[in-house]
């Protein structure tokens, strides 16, 4: 292992050629998949350098997704917390209602470029499943979405949306029947149908090149934010805040700021019923490094190295791992990872609805739950940007149930 405190000169230069962010990342996949993983790596590198690919991507982000997403000054929220000026990066206004579409547009173009004819995806909250089903509908490709049976139950509106978009949703009953099991099942499908199938991973985790590729496609969030804050304030923000499950919206926000060391990068993990209960989904705050789903990263695991179940009110954060770049940013001290419980996130959900007229995804509400602390810490003259990664319409039934109400 490298010295964990080794501080790089250029944070943005990672991963290395082996897909490593320090000790994290890599390609821990069965040999059957390995040639395809190399093919994907080469195809993505070529696409990334191809102006035609970038132009097509950019056009779709503008005209199909609706980018750039606004940067909105949340005045009542700012006043409520009594600290730094708070801006919301409105990713929930994207087509399909979350940041997930940014990555799906990029990967579907890559899949087409590679000549793949069948798309598979995993989903937790269903946001990535909906975004995957959406781009597959747009390009007429068959789409199978693996989703834990528990999540199918708690995210029914998104299951119906996927079906309307023509995708087949496979309810996964193995293991804990949540996101990690959906990912296991998607990997089993991929290893079985390796010749024609493209695996559209939704988060910045998994085997190289996915963590880097998903990050690149999501970096549009941070790039726009940087330009928008500069225009509004004439300077960089003091902190950016995002919720972290696998961590795709957070890394998309963080990455363009990595070398701007005055900008604090704050991720918020799901503390579920409370860190002290052990029933949480906070891989960095409550886990240790290990190997799962193709990468070395922080994981929730027992003393024998068995992966333990994550617990969160948020299906999108209910995963025992985290993207490898976050593990590395934590170890080198460039980013800070806090936690928020289910109850704190429910309060934050209501707070944003009442003060700003915006229903946030319960995932994003975790970041809002820590926003007051960050804003006060930064202080009145400061600027904080929160990545509002998804909208909360899908969560109203969950929120109602926790408030003891029937809809």
């Amino acid at each position: 292992m490298n010295a964990p405190s080794a501080k790089p000169n250029d944070y943005a230069a990672y991963p290395d050629a082996n897909g490593r962010f320090g000790d994290y990342g890599g390609r821990y996949v069965p040999e059957t998949l390995m040639p395809l993983v190399h093919e994907l790596d080469a195809a993505y590198s070529a696409a990334k350098a191809d102006p035609a690919f970038q132009a097509e991507l950019s056009g779709l982000l503008t005209h199909y997704v609706g980018r750039p997403s606004p940067l909105y000054l949340a005045e009542r929220l700012t006043e409520h917390f009594g600290g730094a000026k708070i801006y919301l990066k409105r990713e929930e206004l994207n087509h399909t209602g979350s940041h997930k579409i940014n990555n799906c547009i990029g990967q579907i173009l890559l899949a087409r470029r590679m000549g793949k004819t069948r798309i598979i995806a995993e989903t937790g909250a269903g946001q990535h499943g909906v975004a995957s089903a959406t781009v597959c509908a747009k390009y007429g490709l068959p789409c199978v979405v693996y989703m834990g049976a528990v999540d199918v139950e708690r995210q029914k509106p998104n299951v119906f949306r996927m079906n309307l978009l023509g995708a087949r949703v496979e309810a996964v009953t193995s293991g804990s029947a949540t996101l990690k099991d959906a990912m296991n099942e998607a990997l089993r499908d991929w290893v079985t149908n390796v010749h024609d199938t493209y695996y559209l991973i939704g988060t910045a985790a998994g085997m190289h090149p996915y963590p880097a590729m998903v990050r690149d496609f999501q970096s549009v969030i941070g790039l726009e934010t940087k330009a928008q804050v500069m225009e509004a304030e004439g300077r960089l923000p003091d902190a950016v805040v995002a919720c972290v499950g696998g961590g795709s919206n957070a890394i998309g926000m963080f990455h363009p700021f990595l070398n701007d060391e005055s900008v604090k990068l704050i991720g918020v993990e799901a503390a579920g019923e409370g860190m002290e209960t052990g029933r949480h989904a906070a891989a960095i705050n409550g886990g240790r490094p290990g190997v799962l789903h193709g990468n070395m990263t922080y994981l929730l695991q027992d003393p024998e190295g068995q992966i333990t179940e994550a617990h969160s009110i948020s299906a999108g954060l209910d995963y025992p791992g985290i993207g490898p770049e976050h593990s590395w940013l934590h170890d080198v001290g460039r980013a800070t990872y806090l936690t928020a419980t289910d109850l704190e996130s429910l309060d934050a959900f209501k707070l944003l609805a009442e003060l700003e007229g915006i229903l946030p995804a319960i995932e994003s509400a975790h970041a809002i739950a820590r926003l007051g602390d960050v804003a006060r810490d930064v202080g009145k003259d400061g600027i904080v940007v929160l990545n509002l990664s998804g909208r909360g319409d899908k969560d109203v039934a969950t929120v109602a149930a926790h408030l003891g109400m029937a809809i």
Binding site: N18, G26, R27, Y28, V29, P30, E31, T32, L33, M34, P35, L36, S174, G175, K180, D181, N184, L187, R188, V191, T192, V194, H195, P289, G290, V291, L292, H293, G294, M296, L299, Q301, P303, E304, G305, Q306, I307, T308
Partner: protein, 277 residues
């Protein structure tokens, strides 16, 4: 011992002109005591080599039979330490049958590769297969195993081209394991005719005996593959016998070992019945 035990076994098989029957069981399935009883019974039932799975919570390359076996083992409290203890117990009565551990990376990462290699060697294991460690990630593990004279067996698959087969061979000892189908264990069926040219490619790349696994369920299929390969691995079909005997309240050991006998017999007869191959 260790690497030598595998080499000695394949040399003997070659002298007898027959393929190896390699039996896979999941350690601790359905529990430690019965798992050990099955393990001890395997050589007499005809297993020439034994693969002992150590359970993992998220076995991404396994089909439903071995997924369920891993769950049964974990539910019975099985761990990597107990798996090694089981092998040490087996070794008290059997010094010659090679044992290959098989599983996933995280329990090994968790223990540390060097500590694992030392413990596995002390227990009397001979080799290791890790499904989610391809050649690209294998060096630290291979170095740790080399230091204890244990074999690492990197898997070859239908998607491995000749260049990859050479890379795989560079860090593989004991025997070469060819995964006969692109897919998870115990679902698709292997086709002996389709497998034959791949076995030749794998043998050419490394010069080691080639065993074929993933997708061999019946004595007929085992016999066909035994004509073209140096060994036949059966796993899912054996753990399914455990599941079935539990469901029907039968004696687990008897039922599994009887399945092993029928498969081992088919492998032994393969070249007798077809001397021209």
């Amino acid at each position: 011992m260790t690497k030598a035990r595998i080499d000695v076994r394949f040399a003997a098989l070659k002298a007898e002109n027959r393929a190896a029957f390699v039996a896979y069981i999941m350690a601790g399935d359905p529990d430690y005591d019965r798992g050990l009883e099955i393990l001890k019974g395997l050589p007499a039932a005809g297993a020439d080599l034994i693969e002992v799975g150590f359970p993992f919570s998220d076995p991404m390359a396994e089909g439903p039979p071995i997924q369920r076996a891993a769950l049964r083992a974990l539910d019975s409290g099985m761990t990597l330490s107990k798996t090694l203890a089981m092998i040490a117990e087996f070794r008290k009565g059997d010094q010659t049958t090679p044992i290959i551990l098989m599983g996933y990376a995280n329990p090994l990462v968790n223990r540390g590769f060097v500590a694992f290699a030392q413990d596995a060697a002390a227990a009397g294991a001979d080799g290791l297969i890790v499904v989610d460690i391809p050649p690209e990630e294998a060096d630290p593990l291979a170095d740790a195993l080399d230091a204890e004279n244990l074999s690492l067996l990197l898997l070859s698959t239908p998607t491995s081209d000749d260049a990859r087969l050479k890379v795989i061979a560079r860090r593989t000892s004991g025997f070469a394991y060819y995964v006969s189908v692109a897919g998870v264990t115990g679902v698709k069926e292997a086709d002996a005719a389709a497998v034959a040219p791949h076995v030749a490619r794998v043998r050419a790349a490394g010069g080691l005996p080639v065993c074929v696994g993933f997708g061999i369920k019946t004595p007929e299929r085992a016999e066909a593959v035994a004509r073209v390969a140096d060994g036949v691995v059966v796993g899912s079909a054996l753990v399914e016998e455990i599941a079935a005997s539990l469901a029907m309240n039968e004696t687990v050991t008897t039922r599994v070992l009887s399945k092993v006998e029928s498969l081992a017999k088919a492998v032994r007869l393969a070249r007798v019945a077809s001397p021209t191959v």
